[in-house]
Amino acid sequence: MEQAIVLDKLDILVEQRVYPDRAALTKDAMQALLRSRPELRQYLAVELYRRGEMSLARAAEIGGVDIETIKEILREAGVERRVPTIGAAIHEEVEWLRRIQRDQSPRSLPLIPQS
């Protein structure tokens, strides 16, 4: 009951200019929640990856873990990591590899380790 009253009165923090507006207050509250409960960040990361809204690397950042750990978290959550099909684009991409072998541009190849 007492807690409910406090929650109802949070607008006082806005009235007293502790926060510029209700949105800033809510944002800070959400950030505090995610800081204090890392398991919620990981839950969010899994769901965003499952829905195809985040890359694996970004999911790791949101979950506050490294890439190998997010892979394990996803596996435990039953989320598969699949290599996406690319269809006919593979021939253009293989042609790029051939050009590299013939020592033409592009000249370098960053290796992205996460997927």
Binding site: R81, V83, I100, L109
Partner: protein, 158 residues
């Protein structure tokens, strides 16, 4: 993942060892598992150069950061580098792939590299099949049959 199955040498044979590069942020990501006992990052770090981030790369990196909230820091750095330097960006991640293509960056995927290995004669098809199986096991990666077709078909996939 090539480091996990100790196949970076093969990758070097395909592309030229001196052309394999990572950006500083990606090297940091690669190195983290060393802290809890994995050895494979050492291979990746030893076999790849650090891509030099010039003054032209940083503004592009900042521009992409504003656009790419769904990508990791290392991915954005690599895409910025590839765009400015005309390099190829290698990724299996669909989100990262789409974003890089939208930015006009050339992308290659796992299946491209594996197909390239047998098409160019660096490995036989059976060696590539064995390599793919090792990658699937080591990285617990799902490879749909359509992707295997892309890798191994003699005909051009449509």
């Amino acid at each position: 993942m090539f480091a996990k199955v100790e196949a970076l040498t093969v990758l070097g044979q395909l592309l030229g060892q001196e052309r394999l590069a990572t950006t500083p942020a990606i090297r940091e990501e690669i190195a983290v598992p060393l802290q809890y006992g994995y050895d494979f990052p050492l291979q990746a770090l030893a076999h790849t150069a650090i891509a030099p981030l010039t003054n032209q790369v940083w503004p592009e990196h900042e521009r992409l950061r504003a656009l790419g909230a769904s990508l990791g820091r290392g991915e954005l750095e690599a895409i910025a580098f590839c765009k400015i330097e005309g390099a190829l960006f290698a990724t299996n991640d669909l989100i990262a792939r789409r974003f890089a293509l939208e930015q006009g960056v050339h992308v290659i995927s796992l299946q491209t590299i594996l197909r390239g290995l047998w098409v160019t004669g660096v490995c036989s098809k059976s060696e590539v099949r064995e390599l793919l199986e090792r990658i699937k096991r080591a990285d617990r990666l799902e490879v749909p049959s359509e992707v295997e077709t892309e890798i191994f078909s003699e005909e051009a996939p449509s």
